[in-house]
Amino acid sequence: MSTKDHLDVLEAEAIGILRETTAEMAKPVLLYSIGKDSQVLLHLARKAFHPAALPFPLLHVDTTWKFREMIAFRDAFAARHGLQLLVHTNEAAVREGINPIDSSSQKYTTAMKTQALLQALALHGFDAAFGGARRDEEKSRAKERVFSFRDRLGQWEPRRQRPELWNLWNGRVDEGESMRVFPLSNWTELDVWHYVRRESIPVVPLYFAKVRPVVARNGTLIMVDDERLRLRLGERIEARRVRFRTLGCYPLSGALLSDAATVDDVIAEMSASRVSERQGRLIDHDEEGSMESKKREGYF
C-alpha cells in the first residue's frame, strides 16, 4: 500500500470535478466531440454517478463535416448506454455555404464551431459545459483553469482568471455567464491512451490503422470520406494504410501512415513519436497564438 498509480490519482481528481460541478452549477452539459478525450470524459462521468444515470445531457456540436464513422459511433454508443444526446448545427452558416474546403479556416471555425457552440449553450441555458481539453495540448491551454470563467458573450479573459486553489472550485456565475470545466486538465495524450487500454474504453475505429482512401493535399493526407471532397487537378485517390491521431472534420484532419491497429500499437507508436498531436489538425496551424484568440472568442 505505498504508491498509488498516477492514473488512479487523475481519475479521482476528474470524478471529483464532475461531481462538484454537477452539485454547484444549475444546468451542466457535457460537450461530446466523439474523440478519444470525449470517450474518456464520458467514461469518467458514468463512473462518477454510478449507479445513478448521468445527471446531464451530452451536446455534440455537429459541423456536418465529421467523419461518417464518427457519427455512426456516436449514435450507436448513445443508444447502447441510453444517453441523452443533443446535436446542434449552425444552420444559418450551413445555408450560407460556409464549409471547410472553400471557406478560410478561421471563418469556418468561428461559424461552425465557436458560434454553433455558443448558440447551443444559449438555446438550452446551460451554465456549465464540460470539455475534454487537456493542458498538454497547447500553450494557452496550459494556462487555463479547471473552472474557466466565460462572460455573457462566452469569452475567455486570460489576464483575469480567478485564483484556483486546491480542489476548491469556485463555480459562482451571474445570469448569462458560464463555466467551461475541464476534468482532464492534468491528463496527457499518453495518459488518455493508457486509460483507454486499462478501462477498455471503446473509441472510434479511425484511431486504428486500416487501408483507407486518401488524397495528398498540401503535404497532408486527407481521407476522402464522401463526394463533397472534390479532387483538384492532378490529385488522385490512393488506398493507404492510415490512422488518425486526432479526429475532427474530415477535410481538416491529417491522416498518419501507420500500422498501429490496436491500442497497444498506438501507445507504442506514440511513445516513439517526435511530433505533437496538433500537427495533424489543420486549423491549429494558422498562427502562433491562434488558439488563444479562438478561445477568447468563445471557442472550446
Partner: protein, 534 residues
C-alpha cells in the same frame, strides 16, 4: 531582454515515457521566485532535456530564436501578452515523465501583481523549487514566495541558485546564497531542503550533472525530483470523506458520492457522520467497477452506510478514533487576493470541502512581515498581504488544522458580488472547545410563532428593489421582517421566527436557494403567493 540560449545536446535516452503498465507515481512540483530569475527558462530546459517536448514545438520556438539559439522561457510563456512583455503572467502547467514518475510542473509568475497565480500553482504541490538569481541574491519576492509555499504546506524545497554562468566565483556565490536561503527556509519549517547551483542557459545540474561545478555533489533538479519521499505518513492518516452528492437511483438505494481525501476505508468500519456526530458503519463501497474491499486516498467512490442516518452534501464521513472537529469559528491564515482590501465584519462566502457557508472576519490578529518573518498589527489586508484572522461562519464546518490535513484545513473566500475568489485560507491550530453553540436553540418553532403571530419563512425575490418593497408591505401588514441577500442568513432569520425576504438575482440562483432552504426544513414562499400574517 531575453538573452538567447545556445542549443544544448538533445538527449533522448535519459527519460522516456513509460510504455509498460507499471505503477508511475504522480509528483506535483511548482517553480517560484522573483521576476526574471529564470523560472520559465529552467522549466523549458527541464522539458527539453527530459524529452517533454515534441519536434514541432521546438521548431516553433526555434523560428523565433536569434542565430539558431533557443529562448527556453517561450516553451511555457504561452499567452500573447506574456511573449510581448517577456514575463510570465499566469501559471502554466507542463507534464513530463521520468522512469519512475509522472511530473506536473507549474511555472508561476514572479511579478508581485500576480501572486494569486503563484498561489494557484503552489496549492497542490508536493515540492517547490525556489529560484534565486546568482547576481541578485534573495529579493523581497523570493521571501514572499518561500513564505507562501511554506504556508501552503509544501514539504520539500529545492533552492536553485540560477545563472551561475554569469558570476565569477560561482562556488563562493553558491555557498553564500545557499546558506542565506537555507537559513530562511529552515525558519519556515520545510521538511527537507537541498540547494543546487544551476544555469538554465547551459543546462548545469538540471538534468545532467555539470562539469562546470566540480565542487558540487552531482545532484540535479531531476535526481532530486525522482528521490522525493512522497507518501510518507499518508496511508495511516485518519479517514476523511466529504459528501459531494447523495445518489438515489432507486427507492431502495441511497449512496453517498465523494472522495476519500485522507486515510483508508473498508466495509464494516465504524465511522462518524459530521457535523451531526452520529455513529454508523460503512455497509459497502460501491464503484462502477463493482464493490471494493478497501480504498485509500485519493479515491472517488460511493459509500453506503448501515443505518438510515440523515446525510447530505457538505457532511463529512470520518474516522471515529481520530475525528475532525466541528467549529463555527476558528483562527486561520489568509493570503489576500482581492482587488479590494479585506473588510472585517463583511460577509464573504466561504467554501470548505463540499460545504459553502457565509462567513466574516471577526478579528484581524496580525499581518506577517515578510522581511523579518515576524508579525505586525494591521487594520486590513491589501492585495497580496498575508495575515492571521479569526473567522466566524454562519454554520459549523468540519475541520482539521491545515498542517494536519490539507483537504479539511483549506478554504477559499469568495466575494458575493463580483464572485471572485478573494482569499486562500488555512485553518490554524484549533481552540479546545467550540465557543458558540447559539445555532442549537432550546426555543421551539411553535413557541416563536405563538409569540410573533406567524411562523418563520423565506420569501424569494429577484432584485433588491422588489425586496425592499415587499419587506415594507409585509412589515406594514404586521409581520416581523428582515431583508437579506444570503441563503444562510435567510435560514438563520427564518429559524428565529422572522419573515426573511431573500434577494437572489437570477432564476438559477433562486432555484438553488430554494432547494438549499428546503433541504434545511425552511419554508419558502414565492413573492406573489399572497401570504398574509394572521
Amino acid at each position: 531582454m531575453n538573452a538567447p540560449f545556445p542549443l544544448g545536446a538533445h538527449s533522448d535516452a535519459l527519460c522516456v515515457q513509460p510504455l509498460s503498465a507499471k505503477t508511475t507515481e504522480l509528483v506535483r512540483v511548482v517553480v517560484v521566485g522573483s521576476v526574471d530569475d529564470g523560472k520559465s527558462s529552467l522549466i523549458g530546459r527541464l522539458l527539453y532535456e527530459c524529452d517533454g517536448l515534441y519536434d514541432d514545438q521546438i521548431a516553433c520556438i526555434r523560428k523565433r530564436s536569434v542565430d539558431g539559439v533557443l529562448d527556453f522561457s517561450l516553451f511555457t510563456d504561452g499567452l500573447l501578452a506574456e511573449r510581448e512583455q517577456g514575463i510570465t503572467i499566469d501559471v502554466a502547467y507542463r507534464y513530463f515523465s521520468t522512469r519512475e514518475r509522472k511530473v506536473i510542473v507549474a511555472d508561476t509568475p514572479g511579478h508581485v501583481q500576480y501572486t494569486r497565480n503563484m498561489a494557484t500553482g503552489a496549492s497542490t504541490a508536493d515540492a517547490v523549487v525556489i529560484l534565486v538569481d546568482a547576481r541578485l541574491g534573495v529579493l523581497a519576492q523570493t521571501r514572499r514566495h518561500a513564505f507562501i509555499a511554506a504556508l501552503l504546506g509544501i514539504p520539500h524545497v529545492a533552492v536553485a541558485i540560477n545563472k551561475i554562468d554569469l558570476v565569477d566565483d560561482a562556488h563562493a556565490v553558491f555557498a553564500r546564497l545557499s546558506a542565506e536561503v537555507r537559513a530562511f527556509t529552515s525558519a519556515l519549517g520545510f521538511r527537507s531542503a537541498q540547494a543546487f547551483p544551476v544555469s538554465a542557459l547551459r543546462g548545469d545540474n538540471i538534468v545532467h550533472p555539470s562539469p562546470q561545478t566540480p565542487w558540487h555533489d552531482g545532484a540535479t533538479i531531476l535526481s532530486w525530483l525522482n528521490a522525493l519521499p512522497l507518501r510518507a505518513g499518508v496511508d495511516d492518516a485518519p479517514l476523511r470523506f466529504a459528501v459531494q452528492a447523495v445518489l438515489r437511483p432507486t427507492l431502495d438505494y441511497r449512496g453517498y458520492a465523494g472522495t476519500v481525501s485522507a486515510g483508508t476505508v473498508r466495509p464494516g468500519d465504524d465511522v462518524l457522520v459530521m457535523p451531526s456526530g452520529l455513529r454508523t458503519e460503512v455497509a459497502a463501497i460501491d464503484t462502477f467497477d463493482g464493490p471494493k474491499d478497501a480504498v485509500r486516498a485519493p479515491a472517488a467512490v460511493v459509500l453506503r452506510l448501515r443505518d438510515d442516518v440523515d446525510v447530505a452534501r457538505g457532511d463529512m464521513i470520518a474516522s471515529i478514533e481520530r475525528p475532525p472537529q466541528r467549529r463555527s469559528s476558528f483562527d486561520a491564515d489568509l493570503v489576500w487576493f482581492g482587488d479590494a482590501p479585506l473588510l472585517t465584519g463583511h460577509r464573504y462566502l466561504l467554501k470548505h470541502t463540499t460545504r459553502r457557508v457565509s462567513a466574516h472576519v471577526e478579528v484581524l490578529r496580525h499581518r506577517y512581515d515578510l522581511e523579518t518573518l515576524g508579525t505586525e498589527p494591521a487594520s486590513s489586508l491589501a492585495q497580496n498581504d498575508i495575515g492571521r484572522v479569526r473567522l466566524v461562519c454562519s454554520r459549523p464546518l468540519v475541520v482539521d488544522p491545515y498542517t494536519v490535513d490539507r483537504s479539511t484545513g483549506a478554504f477559499i473566500l469568495i466575494d458575493r458580488h463580483s464572485n471572485d475568489t478573494v482569499a486562500a485560507g488555512m485553518i490554524a491550530a484549533l481552540d479546545d472547545e467550540e465557543r458558540d453553540s447559539s445555532w442549537r436553540s432550546d426555543v421551539e418553532a411553535h413557541e416563536r410563532s405563538a409569540r410573533l403571530g406567524h411562523r418563520g419563512l423565506v420569501f424569494l425575490v429577484d432584485d433588491e428593489g422588489a425586496g425592499r418593497a415587499l419587506e415594507r408591505r409585509l412589515f406594514d401588514e404586521g409581520a416581523h421582517t428582515a431583508l437579506c441577500d444570503d441563503v444562510d442568513d435567510a435560514a438563520v432569520l427564518a429559524g428565529a421566527g422572522l419573515v426573511a425576504v431573500l434577494v437572489a438575482r437570477g432564476a438559477q440562483r433562486r432555484c438553488a436557494g430554494r432547494e438549499a432552504l428546503e433541504q434545511r426544513g425552511v419554508s419558502v414562499v414565492d413573492e406573489d403567493a399572497g401570504w398574509r400574517p394572521r
